[in-house]
């Protein structure tokens, strides 16, 4: 009897470690970056949101630029529903001024942070623009991937980010947690 209890305890410990390891991989630790005006923002500022949409974007990437209107619309449609949007520019060659002008020209009304040393891109292992991470208030990644399945808006058949947000807001699990699409490589410092 004691031996079987011991085995059970070992099994439970192994299971707990595996569960913890699996979860920790999908959780993001807090970070702070400055926006294009030099104002510091932390991920923890958005803790009270129902979901946090972290979007790796670019000023010079044609794919990311094809999504400017869709990103602005998403922000407009979901901000009032308690979803926060944070853009991150991790491209070394795109200056804070360029990011600011680009945001203004394209009516990107959400906060855009400049990730000078790719700290956040490395933390989330982001590699492409546009690339989306949707987090819950505990900073767990609920969705990772594309905005939708076509750069051409009239060819879109799957609005993946909208679907994920609708499911989260409805308290349902996200049906498709991971998607992929072509995009521009994030131009890292090294």
């Amino acid at each position: 009897m004691p031996r079987s209890v011991g085995k059970l305890a070992v099994l439970m410990m192994v299971f707990s470690v595996l569960l913890w390891a699996g979860e920790s991989q999908k959780k993001v630790s807090d970070f702070s970056l400055e926006d294009y005006n030099g104002v510091k923002h932390s991920l923890s500022d958005y803790k009270s949101s129902k979901a946090i949409v972290v979007m790796f974007i670019a000023t010079q990437c044609p794919v990311s630029n094809n999504y400017n209107t869709r990103m602005a619309d998403l922000h407009k449609d979901y901000a009032s529903k308690g979803v926060s949007f944070v853009g991150i520019n991790s491209n070394k060659q795109e200056s804070a001024d360029e990011v600011k002008n680009h945001a203004k020209e394209n009516n990107l009304g959400f906060t855009i942070l400049k990730d000078w040393n790719n700290v956040v891109a490395d933390k989330l292992q982001a590699s492409v623009t546009p690339e989306i991470f949707v987090l819950n208030p505990a900073f767990e990644i609920l969705y990772h991937g594309r905005i939708d399945d076509s750069q051409r808006e009239n060819k879109v058949t799957s609005k993946d980010l909208r679907s994920a947000l609708d499911q989260i807001l409805a308290g349902k699990p996200v049906a498709v947690e991971e998607t992929k699409a072509f995009g521009c490589t994030i131009k890292r410092v090294k």
């Binding site: 010079q60 044609p62 794919v63 590699s127 492409v128 690339e131 399945d149 051409r152 998607t179 992929k180 699409a181 072509f182 995009g183 521009c184 490589t185 994030i186 131009k187």
Partner: protein
């Protein structure tokens, strides 16, 4: 004993001659393939999932270097001179340098061919024509996010030996191709 030596030398010479004939036949075939690849009139073929699978798995004794690029991708454009040099480097050897464009498959005439002409691209080019873009991305490598450019090298047995996301260099690619070629 002297007779046996004569017979053996004769056999050895015959084997060497046969080897040379077969080798020269193989070289002719290779150079024929490459002539077809370096088309005078540029053609871009649509590549679907069964084509990609065939391209990777049915190597007929040849190494595949496949680069995924797009006309809108700056590092891809920067990488092209090295890819052209790579193609020239392996002319006459069992290596296929192939490009796959990630532009839309209805942009062959409007964007892809003008780009290939402008850059004098001599190697065979396809355009990804998949119902789901994700299937192409995973078909190249399951760990690939879709960031361009990306390159793979496949050995003659259809096994991937190299995968790179981002811009590579001539020396880097040549080193990897040479390793994959081994004794070929």
């Amino acid at each position: 004993m002297a007779g046996l030596l004569r017979v053996m030398s004769g056999l050895l010479i015959a084997v060497l001659i046969a080897g040379c004939v077969s080798r020269s036949g193989e070289e002719k075939k290779i150079s024929g393939d490459q002539e077809a690849a370096a088309q005078t009139t540029i053609e871009v073929t649509k590549l679907d999932d069964s084509d990609l699978n065939r391209l990777i798995s049915q190597r007929n004794g040849r190494v595949l270097f496949l680069n995924v690029w797009a006309t809108w991708c700056v590092p891809c454009v920067e990488e092209f001179p090295d890819l052209i040099r790579l193609h020239r480097e392996y002319e006459g050897r069992p290596v296929d340098v192939v490009g796959v464009s990630a532009d839309f498959d209805d942009e062959i005439d409007s964007k892809i061919i003008p780009f290939l002409k402008k850059h004098n691209v001599p190697f065979r080019t396809f355009v990804a024509s998949f119902r789901r873009q994700e299937d192409f991305i995973n078909g190249i490598d399951r760990s690939w996010s879709g960031a361009l450019p990306a390159s793979i090298i496949v050995n003659p047995q259809g096994k991937k030996t190299f995968f790179l996301v981002g811009k590579g260099t001539f020396d880097q690619f040549k080193n990897e191709i040479d390793k994959t070629l081994g004794g070929l």
